[in-house]
């Protein structure tokens, strides 16, 4: 009960998540509750979950990263190109993969640096800076690929395992996601850096006067966001055995949705990794569950919207109740 009181927003998300799971399970126990379906959902969660965490860290500072999916796809394109061309030139597969990982990582960091530079040094508002870079990155990706997919199907048995392999019923990518979520939890919520991150979101001016280098912090935030993009694209490239500039495009808005649904304040300063992860799971449960019922995708979008509004409403009502109670207790004393 104590945890519920301390984390009302996350608690609301947990209740919704569990409720949706139970309802789906009651409605179609023979399909929804099968190990097949559970494992299929676990395959779908990691790439989206990691992107959502990459969005969350930026939103925590009160910013937003609209170039998220293009940072991911451009660094994925670099990886796919390196693997395809080195593979064709007859290099050892392990060598190709390592080179691809290094170059893809470097690319993601480069793109993240540009975002960080614009926001931290040029003081462009994050929404404009990343809107600009998202177009720039899309253009880079289109130029590199000429709009088509870069296929690396010859790496399906080794590199592809990152996205398609599984241990028992649990996908390898799920382990990666769990690892990243734990890493994010400690980094955002259990380190001095994490405390500064939250402070930066609630009051950047106060943070500046308290002797923290705001510019450096912002740089780091956009780099971490790019790091998460790289990890997400690693899974995506492996899962689809190819990369294209618009892969994962639709995760852009969904990542913002998951972050806000998970209780993170869109103005920054408050947000829990657990909430975002729960929101990601909830969205996946809904998407898979409703798909199983053969529901029209437009209704799925409507339901997602309704759930988001519902969660926001719960948070609003709870906030009112809480401040009312505070006021009462203050008057009583």
């Amino acid at each position: 009960m104590n945890w519920f009181k301390k984390n009302p927003k996350e608690a609301a998300m947990l209740i919704v998540c569990v409720a949706i799971f139970i309802i789906m399970a009651i409605l179609s126990p023979d399909v929804f509750l099968t190990s097949n379906n559970i494992s299929s959902m676990m395959f779908q969660i990691p790439e989206f979950g990691i992107l959502a965490l990459g969005m969350m860290v930026v939103i925590l500072t009160g910013g937003i990263n609209l170039s998220l999916t293009f940072v991911a796809s451009v660094s994925g394109i670099i990886m796919a190109l390196v693997m395809r061309d080195m593979g064709a030139a007859g290099y050892d597969p392990a060598g190709c993969i390592i080179a691809a990982l290094l170059l893809g990582f470097a690319m993601a960091m480069g793109l993240g640096l540009l975002n960080g530079f614009l926001v931290a040094k040029m003081q462009v508002s994050p929404i404009l800076a990343t809107l600009g870079t998202s177009m720039l990155y899309e253009g880079i990706g289109l130029n590199l690929t000429e709009g088509s997919a870069i296929s690396i199907s010859q790496f399906a048995d080794n590199f592809g395992m990152i996205g398609n392999g599984q241990v028992g019923v649990i996908p390898i990518s799920m382990f990666i996601f769990i690892g990243i979520a734990i890493f994010a939890y400690f980094l955002f919520e259990r380190t001095p850096w994490g405390v500064r991150l939250h402070m930066l979101g609630s009051n950047p001016i106060a943070v500046n006067y308290s002797g923290i280098n705001v510019g450096k912090m912002l740089f780091q935030v956009y780099l971490i966001s790019a790091l998460f993009c790289f990890l997400a694209t690693l899974i995506m490239t492996a899962r689809y055995n190819s990369m294209k500039v618009d892969y994962g495009n639709s995760y852009m808005m969904q990542a913002i949705l998951a972050t806000v649904m998970g209780g993170t304040s869109i103005n920054g300063g408050y947000g829990k990794v657990g909430g975002t992860v729960l929101a990601v799971i909830t969205i996946q449960l809904l998407s898979s569950g409703l798909n199983i019922f053969g529901m029209n995708r437009f209704f799925v979008d409507m339901v997602m919207g309704a759930i988001l509004i519902g969660v926001l409403a719960i948070n609003f009502v709870y906030g009112k109740v809480q401040s009312h109670n505070l006021l009462k207790s203050a008057r009583a004393s």
Partner: protein, 381 residues
């Protein structure tokens, strides 16, 4: 305790919204008509439960919705479930193919799920296919947004014993049992070129507008058409290399204006890709060149109707999109029930038999559908 109660009430409210959405939507996706009234009554019965106490409403709702689910399955005529997935839903082209696919499901009595992403994103298609693999459907017909990216998932589906075919756009050849094509590329190219070059009469100059220089299907048509021209109309002159329009009507419009300024003697325009047809029509209409030129391309009836009617565009060579959806569902159903397909296959709903190419995989819908100013209103897409 009060706070917890508030939380629960809100949660139940949110879930009720989700469920109401659920029961309305399933009507649109099942072939069974009889389930519709049962569903609406189920949805109604859950409505009063909303206002009841939070604790008691939860089981009542799920019971009502449970009825809904069993109704939909009980009313189906067969155990075969076929998924037909377009590139995206909610555009006229794929709405028309949905009509056809549904007709096929009625004719042959199987469950049809016609659904796709709301954006043309390959990752969303992969997600949905994975859900259908988990659900254990019998066949999937997919119009892939990206052939390469979807291959691992299609292989997964095949491994799970699901019959996989593609339609509208080809997937990778090894990944599918059959590939349903709207048109035979060679036949299409030759008939469009033949019609334009013939329609020009003695004039020699013609031009080609294309969606983009990279589009494989458009380039295929153009290559076949040009080869046909070399052989049969060697005296005709292509005034300029094929002109890319970036799949945009606006660009096709301005490029046509430029073209007519640079080459006023052009008497034939071939428009490959759908937006180029209304684009060229708009330009010629503005220049007052109705009925002066022979303009033929793959235009969508609704977009091109005004230009077809006033003669800015001569004709649109397309295919019957409804029949395409019908054929996709039909082939998928045949695969799901292990019935072999034969060349010159006759389907009751179609006028002409269906051809299968020598590779035994490519199923061709038939000859191009010629849409002119007279019959354009018969096609609503």
């Amino acid at each position: 305790m009060k706070k917890t109660l508030v939380l629960i009430v809100c949660a139940v409210f949110a879930i009720t919204m989700a469920l109401t959405g659920c029961s309305t939507a399933s009507t649109s996706d099942t072939t069974a008509e009889s389930s519709a009234p049962a569903e609406s009554s189920a949805a109604e019965s859950s409505a009063p439960a909303e206002s009841a106490a939070a604790e008691s409403s939860a089981p009542a709702e799920s019971a009502a919705a449970d009825d809904t689910a069993s109704d939909t399955t009980a009313a189906s005529d067969s155990d075969i479930t076929v998924v037909v997935m377009p590139k995206l839903i909610g555009i006229p082209y794929f709405n028309a193919s949905e009509t056809g696919a549904k007709k096929c499901a009625e004719d042959y009595g199987f469950n049809l799920i016609y659904t796709g992403p709301t954006e043309a994103d390959a990752t969303q298609q992969v997600k949905m296919i994975e859900d259908f693999i988990a659900q254990g459907v019998d066949a999937i017909a997919i119009a892939p947004n990206d052939p390469a990216g979807i291959t691992p998932t299609l292989k997964k589906a095949t491994d799970a014993g699901i019959a996989v075919i593609d339609w509208d756009t080809a997937a990778e050849k090894d990944a599918v049992l059959y590939s349903v094509h709207q048109i035979d590329d060679q036949e299409y190219g030759e008939s469009v070129w033949g019609a334009v070059l013939e329609g020009m009469g003695d004039a020699t100059d013609y031009a080609i507008l294309t969606g983009g220089l990279e589009a494989a299907n458009l380039n295929g048509w153009i290559d076949y058409g040009e080869a046909y021209k070399e052989e049969n109309y060697p005296d005709k002159v292509l005034v300029q290399d094929k002109i890319p329009t970036n799949e945009s009507q606006q660009e096709a419009y301005s490029k046509t204006l430029d073209l007519m300024k640079a080459y006023p003697d052009v008497k034939g325009i071939i428009c490959m890709s759908t937006p180029t047809v209304p684009g060229a029509g708009q330009a010629l209409q503005e220049l007052g060149l109705q009925n002066e030129l022979t303009v033929i391309g793959s235009g969508m009836p609704n977009d091109s109707a005004p230009y077809l009617k006033d003669g800015s565009v001569t004709a649109s060579y397309l295919w019957d999109v409804e029949n395409l959806g019908y054929l996709a569902a039909y082939v998928a159903y045949m695969c799901a029930t292990d019935q072999p397909l034969e060349d010159n296959l006759t389907i009751d709903a179609f006028d002409s038999p269906i051809q299968i190419k020598e590779d035994g995989k490519t199923v061709i819908l038939g000859a191009p559908l010629i849409i002119t100013g007279e019959n354009v209103d018969d096609y609503d897409y």
